[in-house]
């Protein structure tokens, strides 16, 4: 009988083409390579310069998401005028995919969407797989029990050419969240609390595995939200062991195994969870029952507080970190000790690979139903995929948003990274369901409060940072 192993170790071992030794990295095989327009053009150029083909176009999938317009009135012809560079990048992806036989979900394709939304949605990302993409939020796919992580463009080239990556084996870090979440506290609050605890470099060199009752109780989309922000804690990947929730989510999806293959896959997937007695390099435990809705106040995702709390005082910050803390508060135009609740905002953004799935939109719609967006507030609702958009339109969620006075947009990354024209104006404050509150992330001079879809919807009603529990009660 072999020694007990973690989920990570099991996946890692299965994918070793050659084991690393004497300082050499391991070569690991990639089961699925996701590609988008922004981080791939230079990789394809590198292949072309060497005359190399794409080794496995059948294990590669491309979509357009980062720089695509979400304003329904912007068609291809208008985009070419409004954003010639972005348009050229989309053209380049199309040409590269056509030349190499890579399936591409281009503009207008009903399977198109944010790369980390469509992977699970199509059943392409499956338990036990290795999944990579030139995007740091690839960690999202760890929610199905896949080892999934972001890579740079050089590595995109490596995978295109060889379907493999050179990697040193990361360490493992169990992030255990016990207990039942209180009312109004959701997956986004868990991960913001985890990052606030560990710090944004806390997971560097590690893969997180999220365990515990509060994680098990999440649906698949909540698990994706948690894994998505692993990178904000410094971990390239985050994993959640597959279970019945995972299997029922995947069953029947277009790229999931079917028939006998489904039964065989289930047998295999059930062997993946971490064995009793397996040891992680590090472990931390949070009490889920003590969590509150979280909101960020600063310029990185670790600068988060319970929504009823206040910005820390100077003396709560380690002396060598005070200058950076002050720089962040200056940027946000906030003071130490200040309450965030009640702070007037200009924009609410519900979207991004963190929180743009059907259940995220449903949570926001349940708060907004029959209510109105505050006067003068701009509210963008950006579904994560065309499929999410269609379902939300069919089920009436879209109408709830429109009736409330929000903008109902096309699928894409949108204001999360603001490279498609959806952006904050200098000085504006936004409550955003996205993943990064870095300076200027949502537009030069824009100021971001990261929060859950529930908090975003509650804040949309009042036009201020608002505790959803007060709106619901």
């Amino acid at each position: 009988m072999s020694r007990p192993r973690t989920l990570f170790e099991k996946i890692w071992r299965r994918h070793l083409v050659t084991a690393g030794k004497e300082g050499l990295p391991a070569t690991i095989y990639v089961d699925l390579h996701l590609v988008h327009e922004v981080t791939s053009p230079q990789a394809f150029t590198g292949l072309d310069e060497r005359g190399l083909p794409v080794r496995r176009p059948d294990l590669t999938l491309a979509t357009m998401d980062h720089s695509t317009p979400t304003d329904p009135s912007i068609d291809d012809a208008r985009l070419r005028v409004l954003d010639p560079e972005g348009s050229a990048q989309l053209d380049r992806l199309q040409a590269n995919c056509e030349r190499h036989g890579i399936p591409l979900y281009a503009m207008g394709d009903e399977r198109r969407g944010i790369v980390h939304v469509i992977g699970p949605e199509l059943g392409a990302t499956q338990p036990g797989m290795t999944v990579v993409c030139g995007d740091s939020h690839t960690s999202t796919h760890g929610a199905v029990g896949a080892l999934a992580f972001g890579i740079g463009t050089s590595e995109v080239g490596h995978v295109l050419a060889t379907q493999c990556l050179l990697q040193h084996r990361p360490k493992t870090y169990e992030v255990r969240v016990d207990g039942r979440l209180p009312e109004g506290v959701v997956a986004k609050d868990i991960i913001l609390a985890v990052i606030a605890r560990l710090g944004i470099g806390g997971g560097t060199g590690h893969v997180f595995e999220y365990t515990g009752e509060a994680i098990r109780a999440l649906d698949m989309e909540g698990r994706m939200t948690v894994c998505n922000m692993s990178i904000e804690g410094g971990a390239r990947a985050g994993l959640i062991a597959p279970d019945e929730v995972t299997f029922s989510y995947l069953e029947g999806r277009p790229m999931a195994p079917a028939g006998d293959a489904w039964e065989a896959a289930l047998d295999d997937w059930r062997s993946l969870p971490t064995d009793e007695g397996a040891v992680y390099d590090r472990t931390t435990t949070l009490d889920g029952s003590a969590l509150e809705p979280m909101v960020t106040y600063g310029t990185n995702p670790g600068m988060a507080i319970p929504i009823a709390g206040a910005v820390p005082e100077d003396d709560a910050i380690e002396p060598e970190k005070r200058a950076s803390f002050r720089k962040a508060l200056d940027y946000m135009a906030l003071e130490p000790g200040q309450q965030l609740q009640g702070k007037p905002i200009d924009v609410v953004f519900v979207g991004s690979c963190t929180n743009s799935r059907y259940s995220d939109l449903e949570a926001a719609a349940n708060v907004l139903r029959g209510r109105k967006v505050a006067d003068g507030l701009r509210v963008l609702i950006v579904p994560g995929s065309d499929a999410v958009k269609r379902q939300a339109e069919r089920d009436g969620l879209a109408q709830v948003f429109v009736d409330a006075g929000a903008e109902w947009r096309e699928a894409g990354c949108s204001m999360c990274l603001a490279m498609n024209g959806d952006q904050l104006a200098p000085g504006q404050y936004a409550v955003s369901t996205s993943n990064r509150n870095f300076e200027g992330r949502q537009g030069a001079g824009g100021r971001t409060f990261l929060a859950s879809p529930l908090t975003a919807a509650a804040s949309a009603i009042t036009g201020r940072v608002t505790d959803v529990r007060e709106v619901l009660s």
Binding site: G23, D31, D135, G152, S154, G201, G234
Partner: protein, 207 residues
């Protein structure tokens, strides 16, 4: 663009800020390029120019705009440098500007990996060394250090030197000026054997 690194001696540009993310190193608005050119002007553009616009006025007290640091080709930065996005545009922009190395107490994983593939050496040092370097540069901006990749040493301003850790494989590639793809391509037989033994889990073209 040279992807090799052996030894470099020069001055440092101090940026004593923790958690400098890749959105600060190169904002998303610069990511629409389909090659690697034009990124140097976007490097730290939001901190470097008024309104973040390279056509606009330089912000005079930002380190890259100060005459005494204008020639520096080593960046001395706070903890957890390069956190955030996987954009390789970040090291491309740093290299495009002329930086040869970044010294910090820690680096984000993806940035470290990307930098080393582009001839940009990341030099992790202890907190005491970091503090001593910031002090030395503050006292005399002309302070020079030598980074020796073969020996894995960083010379200290007051004399002596410190060792630093670097991925041995990346170090070999940098010293030899070879790229990592060549090494992977040479593993074709092992990759083929792996594929023969492990059936693909899906076909993305089937949907």
């Amino acid at each position: 663009m040279s992807k090799s690194f052996t030894r470099y001696t020069g001055t440092m540009a101090p940026l004593p800020i923790q958690n400098i993310d890749t959105d600060q190193i190169i904002p998303a608005s610069y990511l629409k390029v389909t090659d690697r050119s034009g990124l140097a002007s976007g490097l730290f553009s939001r901190w470097r120019y008024r309104d973040g616009d390279p056509e606009g006025d330089p912000i005079s007290d930002f380190v890259l705009n100060r005459a005494e640091h204008g020639e520096a080709r080593i960046l001395l930065a706070g903890d957890n440098f390069g956190c955030g996005s996987s954009r390789e545009h970040a090291p491309w922009a740093l290299v495009g500007y002329g930086f040869r190395a970044v010294i910090s107490t820690s680096f984000a994983d993806i940035f470290r990996s990307n930098a080393l593939k582009n001839g940009l050496l990341v030099v992790p040092v202890g907190e005491d060394v970091s503090a001593a370097l910031f002090d030395a540069v503050a006292a005399d901006p002309a302070t020079e250090v030598t980074i020796d990749l073969e020996a894995r040493t960083l010379s200290l301003p007051g004399g002596g030197e410190t060792n630093f850790e670097v991925d041995p494989f990346a170090r070999r590639c940098l010293l030899d000026g070879t790229d990592q793809l060549g090494y992977l391509l040479n593993q074709a037989p092992a990759i083929q054997a792996f594929e023969a033994a492990n059936a693909a889990r899906l076909d993305t073209r089937s949907d």
